[in-house]
């Protein structure tokens, strides 16, 4: 037991290093491929309200959804989170990114539609201190904490701290929309901006929310019997609701952008409301989630299945080329006299010690149309100057360069296996009457198969995830799925899709490894000895 503990202590630094720098990032990356928290976190109220809506009706959702959207989106806009949400939804339906961005800019204008008449009815509504007095009270602590949590989830920031404001239980009951909007404003002003809530003018959304409350006849009658702080201003507003806009938030949103009236948009938002989604994986295999179920994407948008197939086929071609080129070299290495063999070995290893980037760039110099190979061919007269070979920026270039780069990974395991085959086997075969070829094919080759297996696994798995070389010499025809993953990681920032593509790649490799184990047997793989 103590021995085991000591052994564990010895490997602990490496173990921790591997877990922290390798396993945890991979797991988190895998998790990203299904994670969809951004939608329910950014517009939580809208998501709940939307669950009541039947997307198949073809009608846009109920006013209630738009009201929630307004409240959610307003604070998201303050936290600059609405564009992130737009980008996320844009992966599923293009146009949503700009819809969210432009709408974000006009949220203040929508609020002012109610703010201006309200301030005309009673100038008290202009005063931050008046609002503070009207909204604060006691009993709303739980309400405050709920809003605080939602805010924290939405903005991804620490919202803890003293707000200097507690909503009144009575006003929460009386003006539910206004209480939400004002509490959000108070939280943001106190904690994010570090201001005193009472001295700040409320957000435009608070006026909008009051407008929402005033459309409810029950609220209007309750206001008339209300006698708390700000009662007179509220009663004045209730008495003059005909001066307020006579339309709802659906109209307000649709006015800003008619897309908000489209059931399609809302169907997409509803589909991607849950915090887990198969969407990224479906995207990775050129499918998409629609309200009618899972369907293939239109032909002209299908790219990933083609890319996966191409990656697999090209990795196989590269592996095969490595076997064909590497086998004779490994054979020479194993059978030449020591001295010559070590010189040859250096030639094999030399590229190994050279930077990958340098080697790939060298291939660029060699392969391009005005490059070394074409110049020589033209000079020798094998190729017309007019039709020089296209060796680069296509699959040919990728195969040539990657075969060269991965060749040592084939030669070294082959060599180490061949080194262990005693020459007496071939001698025995010849003494038994076999020709050189039969002796090789029947006796030597079967014994070198474990080396081919080991080399192939190495080369294939390295090839399938290769990135730099296809990026440099592959053009558009010669890029691999890994290049697409890199693009989504660093350019389009669609990490979920990148994670899904990566997960599929991982599963494919594991699946192939499993098949290989079943067919050849992993015990037959020798990396040496």
């Amino acid at each position: 037991m103590r021995q085991k503990m000591r052994a564990l202590m010895l490997v602990a630094p490496l173990l921790i290093f591997v877990v922290v720098t390798f396993i945890v990032p991979i797991l988190s990356m895998l998790f990203r491929s299904v994670e969809n928290d951004i939608v329910p976190n950014t517009i939580p109220g809208t998501v709940i309200a939307l669950s009541q809506w039947d997307g198949s009706s073809g009608e846009p959702p109920h006013e209630n959804v738009y009201r929630n959207l307004y409240i959610d989106l307003f604070k998201a806009e303050e936290a600059k989170q609405h564009t992130r949400l737009g980008s996320r939804l844009n992966y599923e339906q293009s146009g949503l990114s700009s819809l969210f961005r432009t709408t974000g800019r006009s949220l203040d204008d929508i609020g002012e539609l109610w703010q201006d008449p309200l301030e005309d009815i009673d100038p008290n509504f202009e005063e931050g201190s008046f609002w503070f007095e009207m909204m604060s009270g006691t009993g709303g602590e739980d309400f405050l904490e709920t809003r605080r949590e939602l805010m924290a989830l939405m903005s991804d920031e620490d919202m803890s701290g003293d707000v200097g404001f507690v909503p009144s239980e009575e006003i929460i009951q009386l003006l539910p929309w206004t209480a939400r909007a004002y509490t959000d404003f108070a939280l943001w002003a106190a904690i994010r901006d570090g201001d005193t809530v009472a001295e700040e003018d409320p957000w435009e959304s608070v006026y909008g929310a009051l407008g929402m409350d005033l459309t409810n006849p029950d609220t209007v009658s309750a206001i008339n019997s209300y006698n708390g702080a700000g009662a007179s201003a509220l009663q004045a507003a209730a008495a003059n609701i005909d001066q307020l806009p006579q339309f709802g938030f659906r109209e307000a949103f649709t006015e800003e952008d008619k897309d908000w009236g489209s059931a399609d948009i809302w169907a997409t938002i509803k589909l991607y409301s849950p915090s887990m989604t198969p969407g990224y994986f479906l995207n990775s295999v050129d499918m998409t989630l629609t309200p009618d179920g899972i369907v293939m994407k239109p032909e002209n948008q299908q790219i990933y299945t083609t890319l996966f197939m191409r990656t697999l086929i090209m990795a196989l071609i590269i592996t095969a080329s490595c076997i064909v080129l590497g086998y004779p070299v490994a054979w020479l290495l194993a059978n030449l006299p020591m001295r010559t063999a070590s010189i040859l070995m250096i030639l094999v290893l030399l590229p190994f010690w050279t930077s990958l980037l340098v080697r790939t760039s060298a291939w660029k110099v060699l392969l391009q149309q005005q490059g070394v190979i074409n110049e020589i061919l033209v000079w020798l007269g094998f190729v017309n100057d007019a039709d020089r070979l296209v060796l680069m920026n296509n699959a040919t270039g990728t195969v040539i360069a990657m075969t060269h780069i991965l060749l040592p990974f084939m030669i070294l395991p082959l060599y180490s296996v061949m080194k262990t085959i005693p020459p007496s086997y071939q001698r025995a075969a010849k003494s038994l009457g076999a020709t050189n070829w039969t002796a090789f094919w029947r006796v030597y080759f079967p014994q070198s198969v474990p080396g081919i297996g080991a080399g192939s696994i190495l080369v294939f798995i390295l090839a399938i995830g290769y990135y730099i070389t296809p990026e440099i010499v592959g053009g558009t025809d010669g890029v691999f799925i890994s290049n697409r993953i890199a693009y989504h990681i660093s350019s389009s920032l669609n990490w979920g899709l990148a994670a899904a593509l990566g997960s599929i790649l991982l599963v494919v490799v594991l699946g192939l490894y499993w098949c290989y184990d079943k067919i050849v047997g992993i015990d037959n793989v020798k990396l040496g000895g």
Partner: protein
């Protein structure tokens, strides 16, 4: 020589030389003639050129100079697979990825024999080495002795006229080795195959062979049947290399027909047979086998020369007694006596007189 062996030359080496680097000769001027059916052993220390000779015969090495003939035909330019020579390797070289039956069928398959004929021959060969039930196994599942038998069966299955064996018993333990020695000779004689056997174990060479070729320094030092080799070595190397041997150094004093008188360096006079010495005054190394030394005066010729000896050590070995003496300044002089009822057991410190029949003591070159 075995029954049915003709005297016609079957394997011939004529003035064969071999050099790997073009400077030093590993095999120097080798001449050897073997009749059909003979069991010949090439014996020698490592590096003496015996394995090289075997490899040249098998075709894996080419002779730098000279001619190797098989059945009267020069095989210098025939590749190994067309020579039709069976070979058993030191590490057996059974193909690990094939079963025993597939291993045996391999030479038949490359000769394009029919399936039924292959099966029959494989079965017969396996039965011959008593391995009939092992056809479906792989070499790694067999013991060393079993692998040895299979290797032998594989070398014989295509019925070659000549079989080469390169230290085939080296990896086996003593008991198994002795058993296999007997089986191999028995099989070789039974089938009438010509066999060239390479070993560095002299007991193996003596017990198995019709003739033994003792190799040293790239030459055959002596080529003779085992008894002649042991009893009548032709030079100091062979005398030293084969069996136990006592040597004394001296100068030829007198030569009378086929006996001579040698004066040892300490002044003592002894009788010997001159082998490769020719003139009086020449330095010589006399060689006498431990079991031919006599200390009972009655059994010697009346005029035989004797030497004084002091017993240093007496070792009881069961079947024999081994006594170490100091003779003419040599502390390592050994005599062996049979454990017979009337045998005298010498005691350390005892002074005795020893002698021998002149024909048992051979005056050889001093080198």
């Amino acid at each position: 020589m075995a029954d049915g062996a003709s005297n016609e030359a079957f394997v011939e080496f004529e003035r064969v030389q071999k050099s790997y680097d073009g400077e030093t000769l590993v095999v120097k001027d080798l001449n050897l003639t073997m009749p059909k059916g003979e069991f010949l052993t090439m014996l020698g220390p490592s590096g003496s050129g015996k394995t090289t000779c075997l490899m040249m015969l098998a075709g894996f090495e080419t002779a730098t100079h000279g001619d190797i003939r098989l059945g009267g035909v020069s095989i210098n330019d025939i590749p190994p697979h067309k020579r039709g020579i069976g070979m058993v390797f030191q590490n057996y070289a059974l193909f690990p990825h094939m079963t025993i039956a597939e291993n045996l069928a391999f030479p038949l398959e490359v000769r394009k024999l029919g399936k039924a004929e292959q099966e029959e021959k494989v079965k017969r060969a396996l039965d011959m080495v008593e391995m009939g039930s092992f056809g479906g196994r792989r070499p790694a599942q067999l013991s060393g002795g079993q692998q040895q038998r299979v290797a032998l069966a594989r070398a014989l299955v295509f019925e070659p006229e000549l079989v080469l064996m390169d230290e085939p018993l080296g990896a086996l333990d003593k008991q198994l080795r002795e058993k296999m020695q007997f089986e191999i000779t028995h099989l070789a004689h039974q089938l009438g195959i010509t066999t060239v056997y390479v070993t560095h174990d002299q007991t193996e060479a003596l017990t198995m062979s019709d003739r033994v070729a003792v190799f040293d320094d790239g030459r055959i030092q002596q080529l003779a049947p085992p008894d002649k080799l042991y009893e009548q070595p032709e030079n100091s190397f062979v005398a030293q290399f084969i069996g136990e041997n006592n040597t004394l150094e001296g100068v030829i004093k007198e030569i009378k027909g086929n006996t001579c008188v040698v004066q040892l360096d300490g002044g003592e006079i002894i009788d010997a047979v001159p082998v490769n010495v020719s003139q009086v005054g020449e330095r010589t190394r006399v060689s006498i086998r431990p079991e031919r030394v006599e200390y009972n005066r009655d059994r010697l010729h009346a005029d035989a020369h004797t030497l004084k000896a002091e017993v240093l050590e007496f070792i009881y070995m069961g079947d024999i007694f081994r006594t170490r003496l100091r003779v003419a300044g040599n502390d390592e002089f050994i005599i062996k006596t049979r454990n017979a009822p009337d045998q005298v057991r010498l005691k350390p410190g005892q002074e005795i007189e020893i002698g021998w029949l002149a024909e048992d003591c051979r005056a050889l070159d001093a080198s």
